[in-house]
């Protein structure tokens, strides 16, 4: 039992150790004068600064602003991506018509459009949401499309032999079958939406984690900047973990119902 626990947790134990090791190394390297703290600060300074920013409400304000844009862009990308993906997955011509645009979107540097968005939508939040929306759209659309397209042919055939109409097949076979692939798309979308928000904030915002990073970056205040960088990284991990968890839920649900 204990051995089993160790084997199961081996990854976690070693992973935690390596994280701690990294932090300790960072701290010691600076303390020992190997690295100039101006360049990278230290974990203890970052922690102290985090508490300060936490006390005066900066953390809450920045995280709030970033999450606000994140939720909007992710929500929009989910709705648009899934609807378009379903249409394209079900109707061949819709897919063909959308394909050139999706390819352009995939290979174009979305951030380059930010002057355009500022002209169309105004400075700040709307532009940030638009850019993050475009960042997140591709994987959600693409996974929904492939999920619907690669439906279980045998199941569809069986359903048809029982007299199921195309709509029934779509609702009963294609849709449930593509849920796990869609969830994977959402998981990828979450990471990209966050990237979109933060990158857009680097370029033009009045609040948010990306804004704080550029702001303190321009002032060359490494410690203050590090606080927001670390928060962004943690946020990315946490959000992706949540989606991975949901993904495993839907996956197990699918296996159960398949029996």
């Amino acid at each position: 039992m204990i051995v089993e626990l160790f084997y199961r947790r081996q990854a976690l134990i070693l992973g935690t150790l390596s994280m701690i090791g990294l932090l300790v190394f960072w701290q010691i390297a600076v303390d020992a004068g190997l690295i100039n703290p101006f360049f990278i600060s230290t974990p203890s300074q970052v922690w102290t600064e985090f508490l300060v920013q936490f006390e005066d409400g900066q953390v809450a304000a920045n995280v709030g602003a970033t999450l606000y844009c994140f939720v909007w862009s992710m929500g929009l990308a989910t709705v648009v991506g899934i609807v378009l993906g379903m249409l394209a997955g079900w109707f061949r011509d819709v897919e063909s018509a959308l394909e050139p645009f999706i390819w352009f979107k995939y290979s174009a540097p979305t951030v380059a459009f930010y002057p355009l968005f500022i002209a169309w939508l105004g400075y700040g939040t709307p532009t940030i949401i638009a850019i993050a929306f475009l960042f997140a759209l591709t994987p959600i659309y693409a996974n929904t499309l492939s999920g619907i397209k690669n439906i279980d042919r045998d199941l569809a055939k069986a359903a048809r032999s029982f007299g199921a109409k195309p709509l029934d097949i779509f609702l009963q076979v294609a849709l449930p079958g593509s849920v796990p692939v869609m969830m994977a798309g959402l998981r990828l979308g979450v990471g990209r939406a966050l990237t979109g928000v933060v990158v857009a904030e680097l370029f033009g915002a009045n609040a948010g984690l990306g804004y704080a990073i550029t702001y303190y970056g321009q002032l060359m205040q490494t410690t203050k900047m590090m606080v927001s960088i670390v928060i962004v990284i943690l946020l990315g991990v946490i959000l992706t973990q949540i989606l991975s968890f949901l993904e495993s839920k839907t996956d197990s649900w699918r296996v159960d119902s398949g029996r």
Binding site: E4, Y7, R8
Partner: protein, 264 residues
């Protein structure tokens, strides 16, 4: 002395993620003469593969010993070659590349590798396909390549783990006859695991019947059918009685399996 001497063999597996041990094979005693064709039958999970892999030197022994020509087996060696059940051809190599693989690993220095490989490919009747890749071949052809690869390194002992297990009945029969044809030429000692009773009898000089929990040898049956053999032998009386005997053994095993299930 026999060529292969297995004495008091026992193999334990550690159950995954715990330190409990599970005995897969125990108390196995077996002697195999040079040039003998031995088949191993038994119900699924009774340790046939484990026994074969032990002779191949691919699993560690927990008890007892395996000797080949008087030498203790401690790992894989050039005196043995294995034909695996399926999916052991490297997909990125051509037929010839796959046949050459074993030669390369053993640093073959008996002449040109390509020539040696082609010779083996001809032997299994695949000359026309030597540049094909595995996914372009049928299941039967892939197993021919597998056999060619094992024969290429010129082993003293050929170890085969259900090489025809994934094939349909007809192909299986053809491959069996083919294997015998090749074997008659070289008379290499062969150890052949199978589920198929007819196959076991058709090929064998000696059939090893295994039982389960833990894997052990229940009986060793001599097969005195004349060689060379062909399909006609399948209808002979001797064959029928052997088949009956083996069936009874396996049925016994199946019912004990049922019992285990009910108790559990």
């Amino acid at each position: 002395m026999a060529q292969i001497e297995i004495r008091d063999l026992g193999i334990d597996y550690r159950k995954p993620k715990s330190n409990e041990v599970f005995s897969a094979v125990d108390n196995v005693e077996l002697s195999i003469e040079k040039g003998e064709f031995v088949t191993i039958v038994g119900s699924s999970g009774c340790g046939k593969s484990t026994l074969l892999m032990a002779v191949a030197g691919l699993v560690n022994l927990s008890r007892g010993s395996i000797k080949i020509d008087g030498k203790q087996v401690t790992g894989p060696g050039p005196d043995r070659a294995v034909v695996f059940q399926e999916a052991s051809l490297l997909p990125w190599r051509s037929v010839r590349g796959n046949v050459k693989f074993g030669l390369e690993m053993q640093r073959w220095n008996g002449g040109d590798l390509n020539e040696r490989a082609m010779q083996m490919i001809r032997l299994v009747g695949l000359s026309r396909f030597s540049d094909y890749h595995p996914h372009q071949l049928s299941g039967g052809m892939r197993q021919r390549v597998n056999i060619a690869r094992a024969l290429a390194v010129d082993p003293d002992v050929l170890l085969m783990d259900e090489p025809f297990g994934a094939l349909d009945a007809q192909t299986r029969e053809i491959m069996g006859t083919e294997l015998l044809r090749i074997w008659e030429r070289h008379k290499k000692t062969a150890l052949f695991v199978t589920h198929d009773i007819d196959e076991a009898i058709f090929l064998a000089d000696k059939i090893v019947v295994m039982g389960r929990n833990p894997g052990h040898i229940k009986e060793v049956i001599k097969v005195d059918l004349p060689r060379p053999r062909d399909e006609a032998i399948l209808d002979s009386d001797d064959f029928h009685s052997l088949r009956k005997r083996l069936r009874a053994h396996l049925a016994e095993d199946m019912s004990s399996m049922q019992l285990v299930k009910e108790v559990a």
